[in-house]
């Protein structure tokens, strides 16, 4: 029997449909893989019993001729999605032991479509980070190694999800992306990561980081897998006022492989100073692949790009500082209090003990930029720039169907690197943040290897609610790049 963990989501779906194997068998294979790779620390909570229960139920459902879009397919769920009766931590100490009485809309949709949950994937605390080193439950190790063989970060914040998929510990995983948290780890781990348009997937039941930016999306082995999974996650939700009341198309049908006559934009502002040669080359290769496939490549300008990172690091912390106010030790999660303490003492002790350094830093930045006397200089100005950034894209999309850029300025770096320099760490998001601020769909597709033998991804950005074009072009890029490299031990 072939190694069931090496299948793509689409292959596994088709194999299940043909009766080649059962969901129980698929699930068992992945649980075994999770055992074998526990050293990567990709999961905060493994749910083998629940997984087997769901797999059995799924097989029974299929036997009755009733199969959903993701029927029987075992996946990892980023531990930012609230899952009923299963500990949900957001990788924070402050939520340790918290078991929601409700299921997030996205996981509910996935489970309704037959998906099986293997466990809750590790992440940066409250999804704040680009390295997955800020998790209270320990950092995640990238399954890929550079030539020196040292441990590398998987990227973040959806680092556990990315590592789980790359190491075949799940057929696919849910991620969330606020400034690049799906795309950047996908690039670092050599997988596909799709951040849908803001409003495509419901945010209900996802622990909030920055409400105007957070968006759930699929992290998968292939572009086709991303199309399948997005279709099972997305949809309007009356419980989320920012969820878009529009129909979910058949994303898989968009994968025609034909991009002839399409216009692809290349924004000159993304060619930043000091861009590593290999990233520059990767990008050029990508341009050549799309041109060879019949697309017309057009230079576009996104003049406010240089302000995007600064804008993001005002807007996101501002919203976070308010969103995280509810973790006060009162109703759930950790409470730290000594006898005779006042309410304020309890707040301070619980939050000081419950939140890690990076989360505290962002709460402080956010509080500062919203405070009286600074609001106009920071937050209000950031909103104005954000509008300009959106208008930049609007202008560009007047000329082109999609925009091609690198996903990240580098390959995965060593654990511990950049730790002392938050601004350098924030630079990892430089190419992903603009699309987040504009609410646009973006996909990272692995297209090459660095000199150190590490995966590198290219990003395609699309028009609002045009994930279909992003997927179609992404599919062409994927075929042309023919990226078959795997981390050591996962070769096919």
């Amino acid at each position: 029997m072939t190694d069931l963990t090496k299948l793509t989501l689409a292959e596994a779906r088709d194999g299940l449909a043909k009766g080649d194997y059962t969901s129980v068998e698929l699930t068992e294979a992945h649980l075994k893989s999770m055992d074998a790779h526990r050293n990567l620390n990709a999961y905060i909570t493994e749910t083998p019993e629940k997984a087997m229960e769901m797999a059995k139920a799924s097989d029974a459902k299929r036997a009755k001729g009733d199969a959903g879009k993701m029927e029987g397919l075992p996946i990892a769920v980023k531990d930012l999605f609230c899952t009923e009766g299963v500990q949900t931590t957001a990788a924070s100490h402050i939520l340790e032991g918290f078991k929601p009485e409700y299921e997030s809309t996205v996981t509910s949709n996935l489970f309704g479509n037959g998906a099986v949950m293997l466990g809750k994937a590790n992440l940066d605390e409250f999804a704040m980070g680009s390295s997955n080193t800020s998790s209270y439950y320990g950092n995640v190790i990238n399954p890929w190694k550079d030539k020196s063989g040292k441990d590398l970060v998987p990227g973040g914040s959806s680092g556990g999800s990315a590592a789980a998929v790359a190491a075949n510990m799940a057929l696919a995983a849910t991620g969330t992306d606020t400034g690049g948290s799906i795309r950047q780890p996908a690039s670092y781990c050599g997988i596909v990561g799709l951040k849908p348009t803001y409003g495509r997937c419901s945010r209900w039941g996802i622990v909030a980081f920055a409400s105007s930016l957070d968006q759930a999306g699929p992290m998968t082995k292939t572009v086709r897998d991303a199309a399948i999974m997005l279709g099972a996650m997305a949809g309007h939700d009356a419980k989320d006022s920012t969820s878009a009341p529009i129909a979910v198309p058949d994303f898989e049908a968009a994968l025609t492989g034909d991009i002839r006559g399409m216009k692809i934009g290349i924004p000159k502002e993304y060619r930043v100073d000091g861009m590593p040669e290999e990233i520059s080359k990767l990008w050029d290769n990508g341009v050549a692949m799309l041109r060879d496939a019949g697309a017309e490549v057009v230079d576009v300008t996104l003049p406010h790009t240089k302000y995007a990172l600064g804008t993001y690091y005002i807007v996101a912390p501002a919203e976070a500082s308010s969103n995280l106010a509810r973790y006060d030790g009162l109703r759930y999660g950790q409470r730290v209090m000594d006898d005779g303490d006042s309410l304020d003492d309890m707040y301070m002790k619980s939050r000081a003990a419950g939140f890690g350094k990076e989360v505290q830093r962002r709460i402080m930045i956010g509080t500062y930029v919203l405070s009286a006397g600074y609001y106009d200089a920071y937050y209000n100005k950031a909103l104005k720039v954000r509008r300009r950034i959106y208008q930049d894209f609007e202008g560009a999309f007047g000329q082109v169907d999609a925009i091609l850029t690198p996903t990240a300025p580098s390959a995965a770096f060593a654990i511990g690197e950049n730790e002392g320099d938050p601004v350098k760490m924030y630079l990892n998001d430089v190419f992903t943040v603009p699309a987040s601020l504009a609410g646009l769909p973006g996909i990272s597709v692995p297209t090459g290897l660095s000199a150190e033998g590490l995966p590198l991804g290219l990003q395609l950005i699309g028009k609002p609610f045009d994930e279909e074009t992003v997927l179609r072009v992404g599919g062409v890029l994927e075929s042309a790049a023919n990226f078959t490299a795997k981390p050591a031990g996962q070769e096919g």
Partner: protein, 484 residues
């Protein structure tokens, strides 16, 4: 008449602006489906959103929006077709989200006006600056445990309308009239029950003093006063305190103060330096609240006749004075009662009976109009009995007394007690003859020109008939017999 406080150094004028929180009448909360029912077990009306569980999102309740627009229309205010919910950030145990969802620079309702009906029958108009929608907080209970405070989240997330006046109020009486009128308007509209003692209407007062004609002074805010009477007292006491400070060479510090009705003083709660920095910003979980003209005109169609219009109609159609009309429309139930009594009858007579007799009796018994023992139908019948000469006005007062006591039907009371007016000429003549026969000297006096004595005879005849004789007939027959 302007209200002036005399200080030791001269006259002072007071300037007051009121911020009133009105709890919106709605089945469910502003951003969740939980019930708003008052008086349920603590923490029984709490949804996941109200408890601020991780990942929960607010969804605005359209009914609350309609109520706010309706109130705005009732205040003759500008309705903003686009408004924005903003977060007001602060930590407190009864605020689970760590922020209150409110409206900041883009409220749902803009400027409007309230016409005050002053006790002397005059009116004054006070500007409304804005009305915005916001969530209520939960309730902290400090008396349940010696060591810990308990929190009840039933109220957490219930919709409030904060209605902010312009600083147009110049006396405690005007503040009282403002609150009375605002309460009447929201009650007429059915958008808030206006019960200050249950906390469904709460008032903060911004008070400052100045020399007449000068610019505004520094204001202090008196928080959460829970009755109209206390608001009036607090304003006067606070104004006097400020005058004393200024005249003593001190300066007023902008601050938040509490009114202690027991001690009759205001006390500093927190200074400007200690004031919260609320870090308002647009709530990213909610889209701007946008609606069209059709939405507004739909609500406009449902507007009931409001106190000002009703007052004008009573004056126009029933010939009532501004004062009487104002008294009647102050509460919708009173106006409704009056309209039943006045229907098909003399409007002024009806107003007299309702205001002087009924309200007088209800006040004395400390009973509200809703619990009046005399129904509007019965009071109407009583007036009919006077109008068709079945009883006299004086007997009517006796019958009314019985109605207040027993709640009885005036026709039956008159029947049972035999109070029908005597209109039988023979019977009255007999009574007159008896009085004349007993007082020949007084008869002579009248004939000698002392007309006034005729009144004495009327009185005697009325007395001998137990008040039942028709006074007009008695008068006429007496004249005929004595002067004839």
């Amino acid at each position: 008449m302007s209200y002036i406080l005399e200080g030791s150094t001269g006259p002072w004028e007071i300037v007051v602006g009121l911020e009133v929180h009105c709890q919106v009448i709605s089945k469910s909360k502003l951003f969740s489906g939980a019930s708003t029912k008052f008086g349920n077990e603590p923490n029984s009306n709490v949804s996941l959103v109200d408890a601020a569980m991780p990942g929960m999102l607010p969804v605005v309740n359209a009914e609350c929006v309609r109520q706010a627009v309706k109130t705005g229309l009732g205040l003759k205010a500008k309705i903003n077709k686009e408004s924005v919910f903003a977060r007001k950030n602060y930590f407190y145990a009864d605020l689970p989200q760590g922020y209150q969802i409110s409206q900041f620079d883009k409220p749902i309702v803009g400027e409007g006006t309230i016409i005050l009906d002053m006790p002397d029958g005059s009116t004054k108009s006070v500007g409304i600056e804005r009305l915005h929608l916001e969530q209520d907080a939960g309730k902290s209970m400090h008396d349940q445990d010696p060591k810990y405070s308990h929190i009840d989240l039933n109220r957490s997330g219930v919709a409030l309308m904060e209605i902010v006046s312009m600083p147009d109020i110049r006396s405690p009486e005007e503040a009282g009239a403002y609150l009375t009128k605002l309460r009447a308007i929201v009650r007429y509209l059915g958008t808030c029950d206006g019960n200050m003692n249950e906390g469904s209407m709460r008032c903060d007062a911004n008070v400052s003093v100045r020399r007449p004609g000068e610019g505004f002074g520094t204001r202090c805010e008196i928080k959460n006063v829970n009755s109209i009477r206390f608001v009036m007292q607090a304003i006067e006491i606070e104004a006097k305190r400020q005058i004393e400070v200024i005249e003593g060479g001190g300066e007023i510090q902008q601050e938040t103060r509490l009114y202690d009705q027991r001690l009759g003083e205001t006390r500093s709660m927190r200074s400007k330096e200690m004031a919260h920095d609320y870090r308002y910003f647009p709530d990213p979980d909610l889209l701007p609240l946008v609606f069209d003209d059709a939405f507004i005109s739909e609500i406009e169609k449902e507007l009931p006749e409001l106190p000002d219009e009703k007052k004008a109609r009573f004056m126009r159609e029933n010939g009532l004075s501004a004062y009487d009309a104002g008294v009647l429309v102050a509460e919708k139930e009173k106006a409704d009662y009056y309209e039943v009594v006045a229907k098909g009858r003399d409007g002024k007579l009806a107003a007299n009976w309702v205001i002087t007799n009924l309200f007088g009796a209800l006040n004395k018994a400390e009973v509200g109009i809703a619990d009046s023992p005399v129904t509007a139908e019965n009071l109407g019948k009583l007036i009919d009995l006077i109008s068709d000469d079945t009883i006299s006005g004086r007997i009517a007062k006796d019958v009314f007394e019985i109605m207040i006591e027993t709640g009885g039907d005036p026709e039956k009371i008159v029947e049972e007690k035999g109070l029908k007016q005597i209109t039988d000429t023979g019977a009255i003549e007999t009574a007159i003859d008896e009085v004349i026969a007993a007082n020949p000297d007084k008869v002579e006096e009248i004939r000698a020109g002392k007309d006034k004595m005729l009144g004495w005879f009327v009185g005697q005849v009325m007395k001998s008939t137990g008040g039942k004789a028709n006074p007009g007939m008695v008068n006429k027959l007496l004249r005929d017999k004595i002067l004839g």
